[in-house]
Symmetry: D2
Subunit: 378 residues, 4 copies
């Protein structure tokens, strides 16, 4: 089997999730390339060594520029905060490395456009880790839509609800909390959570024409972990937006970190002329499905336990009824990335695909300021 | 419209449930006869007057023998404790009255046989209030089975779980608590709760051949409300039994009043070769249905909201999505009883139908004593 | 017991629901007044006679002006299409009748203001039939909020989804379908369905400051039942709006008749600092509740079966575990209306309460046209 | 880190599940020993090589006796059919190897006793792969019971329902189907599925005194894959049993492979005086919990999403809300086995623990034949 040498930048939550995916994929999928954990890179030499040892990385680097110079690295995986994605990606493209970049692609669409130009002119394979496309139930939803099972779509609804920042004592910034720091994250729930919903939405339901949004920051000031001072909070704590898709359907999106009782409740529902589907990350191995073509009195929402061999990706795992979890979506994404290399047909979402999400996020944040409908740039 | 003059004996929980049914049925169903609340009867003159006034009964009696002598009474409704059913029913049959008797039919099969002989030789219309047959979702289950949707049946499972007698401070006997007094009730959960499960089971799945059972009385002594003394508890607090149906399928039944968290959770599930169904009294307007003939990857349990016009009884009520409740099962039973009069085809379960449940209960209680399988008498 | 003589105007779906409530309330509640079904009124003499007979109305009228002249009528119930509410209500107030008016109060806020002035200057008791306030689970939600169980509110979310107009073959206008005719209904889902959501929202979460909305009419033309011709559809088939409440919380509302699989799915969820609650009309006897003060690892959403004696209204019905249905909300509303008469403290929502919903609907429809945020008039 | 050299015997479903656990455990847990995939062993040289390559085993063997002779093997993992467990385990104990044996321990209690004597006299660490003890929700249930949250236990109920053998065309015997061959499996659902339920039950609720059971073989003959002939089916297709636990509670167990719609629905529910808990393998990351001590009207079943850092094992994985799956239970069991080695306190269930399950299975199968209650041997 051919080797695909991975250089990992960052070692946080996503560094672990991706490392696990690289390590597992060859045990469960038959692929042309086997990922090899070649090098882990982070500024803190001690911590990156510990991480490398835990996961079996063969070597470490403390400067990502050094990593990019290494000839034994085929692909770099960018798992650092959002405000570093562009610089690293541009350099990686120049160095001719394949790039797997954690979502969101960038701080905004302008950055994203530079990144797309970079990878496309360098012709390096590239992908953004919108992992929820590869949850089997979500992939199955895509198949059903593509088969025409839903018919004309009238409504797309998505929510991503959390509750972990309700306490005003949660600080902002620094290790593990950079998502609350507007300088590192770019935005709050819009870029962190709604970006996931948007990525799924455009994949399942096509492009978005325009949006009308509102945002809120419930806790106005928080202690900043890096400065030690109480500072204004620059991110959006919550965001609601309405939109129109190019296919004429209506979108309703909402995200917040102030919905008590929801840890990571990413839900979407799609209502078509003939059928509807719904999915909930909290029970990610199930898909809800209603088919109007069922015999009249027997119509009802079906709860499909997406664990059979004829469900997407599932023949690679266990037996019907035995569920997989969150981490498996990353394994699937690595498998598809490698398939894409073999077939010369890139796995989605590429940087270009992910740029569309960035443009919608920009329109959402703009509308929240202007109070009017904003077109999505194209 | 012709009148059907009702004489109600008893004014407890069931007295109210049945009175409500008689009062409502003509508003929602087009029937040949309209029930008229002619007389209410109970020993306590004050209480029965109050009851009669509340419900619009035209008159009262304090002796059920007097009620039976009245020419203006067409049908008597027996809502008194189990140990009085036989005597009243025999006299009512002799007086030529139609009889609607609260379940269980009797204290045991021997009593039940006498009652069946009485009503059949007097040729009076008769019915036992196993109301759950008329919950639309349950009636719908019956239709699906009769249509052959399930194919060969392998399993029938039913539970009736409550938790209201866990505290040892709950007394036995007397008003509202006679169900805990073996002399008034005959048995505990077997006659009170499992009788419901058994009635539904034989209706849906045919007769039972033999049973193996175990019972338990967790709280051995309770204060008796009538004597004021602490006395041994004679009823079964819990009962589990296994059985074989005549069609070869296996039954698993359980009831208890010691299942913390369950108020009145009557659940059944039927597994057939082609399809399965399940129902839960706590959400009585829903039926769960799994059909193996659905397209492979789209198979899943459907939650059918049984509120459409093409569901049993539902065209008489509101519009799709708007649920009815517990009390409506009694309205349907009155409607069917009257339909039965019109068509000369008695509504089930008749006394004879209900006798079979009595025989199974007897076999269950016997098996719990002998520790072996017992055949159901026929 | 004193009598409360009812004059019913209209005999459609709501005529039945209200009649049932008047008939039942005294069987289950101890009240100072007993409603008497004195007269039913509608233009079609034959149909209103049939209706009166079915429900036990003592007399009929074919002209509502005649009904208002009758001395033996204490209260009139307006169950006619929306475009007739104002005229009848103004005349009824002038005639000194109590008025129970089906929701929505009026075609728009201007009409509603006239109606409020009329009943307030005439000092006649008045109420609007926003019945969902009296579903026990919803009333219980109100109690929990009033007790401070939720703390500061961050989010209010409501949806009312149906699917019965997806087919372009459904005609508009005429008996049973006037809700699709803009001239009779005033608006589509906004006045018919969102009005319910808004009424509940302002009751539970206080007043709304401003809104931003979008509407859609998916099927542009339908045959009109009265003219027999294909005519443009004037109503909104779907509506989404975002809003801010006076308490700073964010609202997200949506309604449609194009959500395949939903018959009458009215759902709301409220996220507070300490607890969250959610409710679904499809299982109206349950309330979902999450309390952050529960012991850490034991936190979870509770599904409360709102059927206990200590739940609102429930001591009047059956026993724990036995559910009531849709129709009971109307019984409760009659009971509260009569309680209000006895205590001289009107039951909500009065015409004045309902006017606020009308103002929000107006702002929603205006915003859908202007594409900007609109303040709610006060 | 110290190494723990694993010799795997068998490469089927469980060979994969265990290999995955050995490979992953060190990435997520800090342990004294790191498992090393030293050798894989199976009769078919080609297939075992392929398996070894897929999973990274360093070497292969085709004779398990040879594997036991190797000095570089610390622990053997027995993943072969049930009828081979005893012989291999006895030899492994003699060779001084640690033994991790797939469940059930043996064909019957007599075999199991020999095995227990062997490992205990050889003093080799030993464990049986009853993996469901390590599903976090199940481990959490154990914690709650041990904390006394449930109080006195009244009822234990468990079901393990599948539907994959309904078709009479499913053959018996041979690769992947040895579970249907009584000579290889010993019994049907009793040893395969109920053994899981029993293991969990005795862990959570203590020992079982006596049982009364019934079994059924619905399809009497099936083609045998090894002989190519239609042969009588010797296994039980379905089994129901009732039992008494030593603590006085009542047990109700059922398993079948003829429950249409259930892939691997392992459910249990425990009713205690103060609280109840329920779990379902189909949503294994949730635990249902009802606590009677909750404030009266707020009582309800909680659905606990067992994914927080303070839930068993979960701090090792992702973040709250992100679920793990079936395979993780094996990772946890390896982690606990290694912890046991470090602390000199063996991880449960040991061979001795698993022998109790074997004795209960024997009593169940005996009772199914005798039709009476059978005591569990001790």
């Amino acid at each position: 089997m051919k080797k695909l040498n991975i250089g990992m930048i960052g070692y946080g939550f996503m560094g672990r999730a991706h490392s696990n995916a690289y390590r597992k994929v060859s045990n469960f999928f038959d692929l042309e390339y086997q990922p090899v954990l070649k090098a882990a890179c982070a500024r803190d030499a001690g911590k990156v060594k510990e991480f490398a040892q835990k996961w079996g990385y063969e070597s470490t680097e403390t400067d990502w520029r050094k990593l990019l110079e290494r000839k034994d690295i085929d692909a770099v995986d960018i798992c650092t905060p959002n405000n570093t994605h562009k610089e690293i990606a541009l350099a990686a493209a120049k160095a001719g490395k394949m790039i797997l970049c954690e979502k969101p692609l960038s701080m905004n669409a302008a950055e994203g456009e530079e990144m797309v130009r970079a990878v496309e002119s360098a012709k390096v394979p590239n992908m953004v880790w919108y992992n929820y496309r590869r949850v089997p139930a979500v992939t199955f939803a895509k198949q059903l839509i593509d088969q025409g099972k839903l018919g004309r779509i009238f409504h797309f609804r998505a929510k991503f609800l959390q509750d972990w920042t309700i306490s005003a004592d949660v600080p902002q910034g620094g290790q593990g909390l950079w998502r609350l720091d507007v300088h590192a994250a770019g935005s709050g729930v819009t870029g962190d959570l709604l970006a996931h919903c948007i990525d799924t939405a455009i994949w399942l339901n096509g492009s978005v024409k325009n949006v009308s949004a509102t945002t809120e920051t419930f806790v106005k000031e928080r202690k900043h972990n890096l400065t030690g001072k109480v500072e204004p909070v620059g991110i959006d704590d919550a965001c609601i937006f309405m939109c129109r898709f190019a296919n004429g359907s209506m979108g309703n999106f909402e995200s917040t970190r102030y919905a008590r009782g929801h840890k990571a409740q990413y839900i979407f529902e799609i209502n078509g002329e003939k059928a509807s589907i719904a999915w909930d990350l909290h029970d990610l191995h199930r898909l809800s499905y209603f088919d109007h073509r069922d015999e009249g009195p027997l119509r009802g929402w079906r709860s499909i336990h997406v664990t059979d061999g004829d469900h997407p990706y599932m023949k690679h795992w266990w037996v019907p009824g035995l569920q997989i979890g969150y981490e498996h979506s990353f394994v699937h994404q690595v498998a598809d990335f490698i398939e894409g290399l073999s077939k010369g047909k890139p796995a989605s979402p590429t940087f270009r695909d992910a740029l569309e999400t960035q443009r919608i996020c920009d329109a959402v944040l703009k509308s929240a300021k202007t109070g009017t409908w904003e077109n999505v740039a194209s």
